[in-house]
Symmetry: C2
Subunit: 458 residues, 2 copies
């Protein structure tokens, strides 16, 4: 019996029109990455489980897809672990490999493994799918693409400046009318924790602050209180949530607040450098804002933290990133500073769809369809096709001499730009009719005239 | 403790220079597919296990990578099956999903699932990785890309003709000096089986014939004998292995041999049509050969069978394909004829490497490096970078003002085309030095002259 066709929940098929839009999106990002000197790498879809496990926290580990060992190896299933309901151990006995969860950990592994083949500072971009066993829901998929660019082996703040330019250039090229590039610096957060005498609880502090968008100021304070932060500390922190004014005013205010924290002041200096450079260089459509509550929950950030939001749509952040030191230490290579960003392709796709910003001609996958009237003209049509394709045009002959109406419907559905018709009369005159499918206009041309017409397009 | 970085056996990392070559290869294939009217689709990396299992034979099933069910679902492990050493059943209880094994079965599933959204004949191409739990060995990987193009919903032989043109156009564009496009027709093989009175054993016959390359004529006859083929049958078949002469001579010979088989003659007619058309249209670098022993082991082929081999290298087939009827019947959609081809990207990559056919400038990922002498000139350099990038050039400023020698080594390692040097003296004169890294020649230019120089390149 035939199976009813279906795909796993949380995964997607992409039809030609969707692939065209996704290709446009990825190509735009790639083009900008390349102009800034980034070169592409690719890593395998699955890594050794040991490479990935323990890198994303307990919750992350649960979301990693594991690959079942094949054949004989299945006999090594740890039944004791299963009996004890120790599912992670049971999984470990059955799965040596796992699908990558992000591009960052595989990249760290790659840099260490290939350190003698790379030029440092190493600037790479990587656009590949990642997999997460998340509960599928609207806009959240089990398979999705990440588009990352990172520099490792340089602590120059020039890279922070360039990544802001890259955000601006990509999103401007994608025709977004406006977007906010939020920036903070982990050193400032550390400084705040120092000034408030909670340096040891910096992780709890950033985790809570990071939820500001979701749970509001009240929620953050409730969480901090539960974590044992004193009322005095909360009183000290509170004004930071209400910092207003320009970026410069915020920095000025914090210079006073962080006066006693060396690291906090260093964070402000770094931020000031970035703001100065961006002011000198200018941005096209982006706005750069200092947001002292931006934390991004990721405890591996050590310097700049970035997040980008599109204006005019309700949507979480569409890009993120930051500076991290020592990510490669996980795999034995120490003291290698890195900074990187990531474009959230699926969310950007949704924003472009909602704001109707995709170019309208992306799904024109066929330039010319030659209508097929009779087998006798087939050879002449095939010879014409060779010439059209040599000009770089996407062209085809309808594969059978069926009703014209059916062929025109096909041309329409394929969004063909032109249909070529050669009836009895035209054939005798050595002419053909070129029908513009958008305007409906028809033109009688000789083959030479036709080829001349398309030459400049090709 | 830090982990020693490694990747699973049979998988690969790709460094920028390798990605550049692979991109060149894929882009060449895509460009030709598009010109012939094919549009891209993508399917998820993993499918429901039930979609894939049972479609590739027992051996194939064993090579399918399964995804371990997450969380609670692991408790459903079928321990009885494990105790009985029924590993496939045990695997089924643990893995609802599996990584795709090829692009053909997911494509059949896709066509049926989206039949109301597609235009028929539906011409799609698909370039995505597939995974097989094969024992890793030289040139055989557990993760590799397939590049497929298929037409479904048309039984016109025009498609066979066009696929031969596509083989020719792609491989010629890749600069292969010569290659043989082998063609056969499953109907001819069926006719042979009929004429030899072994119509019921057509599968065994094709499976054995398919091994001719590997085990020789003697080996094939040994295998057929073991399968119960009579000496009389073998005597009848034997001359076919020694068919010589031109394609036309072979067809002529077989017209006599297959005179009593309607289907066999039909196969010859189809072949004749294809040869005629190709003779009229011409091929660039390819040679089209009729090989009556070509079977490709795949029992779903029903008409044309293709295989391509590169001349001048020892390498198996680099492309394959054929016509199949009713592949979509697996998923409930009957009477949909299809024909398709596949480019073996990894083997073609190896051929291009061995014959040194990759263009030499593919790994130039940086057009211009601006040397960094002193922080004071940084802003001017960043402003120049903006202008160079606006021309479409890949350009960067070395991120710190370190020794020039180190910066030049970096430019060299990155294979940068040019380095821009602005020393004290040049700065005062409003000039810069452009160093051509290939020739070593240096030129003093104003910024305006520099931009004019690069404008036509961009």
């Amino acid at each position: 019996m035939a199976q009813k066709p279906a795909i796993p929940k949380g995964t997607r098929d992409f039809l030609p029109s969707e692939v065209a839009k996704r290709t446009y999106l990825f190509d735009t990002i790639k083009r900008v990455f390349k102009r800034y000197g980034f070169a592409p790498i690719e890593t395998p879809s699955f890594e050794l489980s040991s490479t990935l496990l323990g890198k994303y926290g307990e919750e992350g580990d649960r979301l990693i897809f594991r690959i079942l060992n094949s054949g004989e190896k299945m006999r090594k299933a740890d039944l004791e672990a299963l009996a004890q309901d120790n599912l992670p151990r049971f999984a470990n006995s059955l799965a040596e490999k796992a699908l990558r969860y992000d591009l960052t950990v595989p990249f760290a592994r790659f840099v260490v493994q290939h350190q003698n083949e790379l030029q440092f500072p190493f600037k790479r971009y990587q656009i590949q799918p990642v997999w997460r066993a998340d509960r599928p829901q609207h806009g959240r998929y089990q398979e999705f693409f990440q588009c990352d660019a990172d520099v490792v082996g340089s602590d120059s703040l020039l890279h922070e400046v360039e990544f802001i330019q890259i955000f601006d250039e990509v999103l401007t090229a994608l025709n977004l009318p406006g977007f906010d590039i939020q920036i903070n610096n982990r050193k400032i957060l550390t400084g705040i924790a120092e000034v408030c005498d909670v340096a040891q609880q910096i992780v709890e502090l950033t985790v809570a602050i990071d939820k500001l968008d979701k749970i509001g100021e009240e929620g953050v304070f409730k969480e901090l209180k539960e974590k044992g932060f004193s009322d005095l500390t909360l009183q000290k922190i509170q004004p930071l949530f209400e910092l207003t004014g320009s970026n410069q005013e915020k920095i000025k205010h914090l210079r006073t607040f962080l006066a006693s924290s060396e690291i906090g002041l260093k964070g402000l200096d770094e931020l000031q450098y970035v703001f100065d450079r961006i002011a000198q260089l200018g941005l096209a459509k982006g706005t750069l804002n200092f947001d002292v509550t931006l934390a991004r929950g990721l405890n591996y950030y050590t310097g700049a933290i970035f997040e980008v939001k599109a204006q005019g749509v309700k949507m979480g952040s569409i890009c993120g990133g930051g500076r991290y030191d020592d990510l490669t230490a996980l795999f034995g290579l120490k003291n290698l500073s890195g900074v990187g960003i990531s474009f959230g392709a699926d969310r950007i796709y949704d924003v472009l769809t909602e704001l109707q910003l995709f170019p309208s001609d992306l799904d024109k996958s066929l330039d010319i369809l030659i209508a097929n009237f009779e087998p006798e003209t087939e050879l002449a049509h095939l010879q014409l096709l060779q010439k059209l394709r040599a000009l770089g045009l996407a062209a085809e002959l309808y594969p059978s001499s069926t009703k014209l109406q059916k062929q025109l419907k096909y041309a329409n559905d394929r969004k063909a730009r032109y249909v070529i018709l050669v009836g009895e009369e035209e054939r005798q005159q050595g002419k053909l009719t070129l029908k513009d499918m958008e305007s409906g206009l028809q033109q009688q041309l000789s083959q030479a005239e036709l080829l001349t017409k398309f030459e400049p397009l090709a």
